[in-house]
């Protein structure tokens, strides 16, 4: 039971919005945090999920136009993630 709970807790929720969601073809996923002892960041997730427009096999830099939110607050793309975090990738904002 305890191991089951820690397995659930060691996940992050990833959310995509607007044009980014439609390009990827999904809006929300739960992923395990990296288990190699190295803390996972939103930029790592961006590469893992191949969310950029670079051709397959080419490591895409995290784009300056995309903003990251962790648990509903803006955060740098290299912020280490914690179990249970909700990470959102936000395309350029066009409200108002």
């Amino acid at each position: 039971m305890a191991s089951q709970q820690s397995a659930v807790a060691a996940m992050v929720r990833v959310r995509l919005f607007a044009a980014l969601r439609e390009r990827a073809g999904w809006s929300e996923r739960s992923l395990p945090l990296a288990a190699d002892g190295c803390p996972l960041t939103p930029a790592d997730l961006w590469r893992q999920l191949a969310l950029g427009e670079a051709p397959p096999g080419q490591a895409a830099e995290f784009p300056a136009t995309i903003r990251v939110a962790i648990n509903h607050a803006f955060a740098p793309a290299d912020t280490p993630l914690n179990p249970g975090d909700e990470v959102a990738f936000l395309p350029p904002i066009t409200g108002g």
């Binding site: 607007a18 939110a69 509903h72 904002i93 066009t94 108002g96």
Partner: protein
């Protein structure tokens, strides 16, 4: 109640998924600002934004679709309203933002600020509007000729 509590600005932030009448909301907000006409704030600044009838490329617009990030959009609007109100020392702020499908001519955003003087009231409205256009997570998609196109950036000031 201490002085700090009584001088805290009154902030009201609403995200609406149905059409709204900005003047009716403004009137309701004004009636909460003062018990009597003599208590009314000396200055108010207002901005009403409406959906224009054409797309960025000049084609006739059928509708504008507004997407938000439920939870974060409201939190950000609150934070922006509080920060702007604090910077300009105003008494009350109202921010109303539409989401969903919005037709040309319908209101998309309403910002109102009550203050003791016109300077802070008008400057706070202008600053709050620019802040929310750049830092509150909302995304526009223009529908024209049956096709939807995500808007790439804000229109010029």
């Amino acid at each position: 109640m201490d002085a700090a509590t009584t001088s805290r600005p009154r902030l009201e932030v609403r995200i609406l998924s149905r059409p709204f009448q900005p003047l009716a909301l403004l009137e309701a907000w004004q009636s909460q600002s003062a018990a009597t006409a003599a208590d009314s704030p000396a200055a108010e600044g207002h901005f009403i934004g409406r959906v224009r009838g054409s797309t960025a490329s000049g084609a006739p617009l059928e509708a504008l679709e507004l997407e938000d990030y439920p939870g974060m959009s409201e939190t950000q609007l609150q934070a922006i309203a509080a920060a702007c109100a604090g910077r300009h020392g105003v008494g009350a702020v109202l921010v109303v933002h539409r989401v969903g499908r919005i037709l040309p001519g319908e209101a998309i955003v309403l910002v109102a600020v009550a203050a003791d003087r016109r300077g802070p009231a008008l400057r706070c409205v202008a600053e709050l509007l620019e802040e929310l256009k750049h830092h509150a997570p909302f995304w526009k998609r223009e529908w024209s000729g049956g096709h939807g196109t995500w808007v790439a950036g804000n229109t010029p000031l």
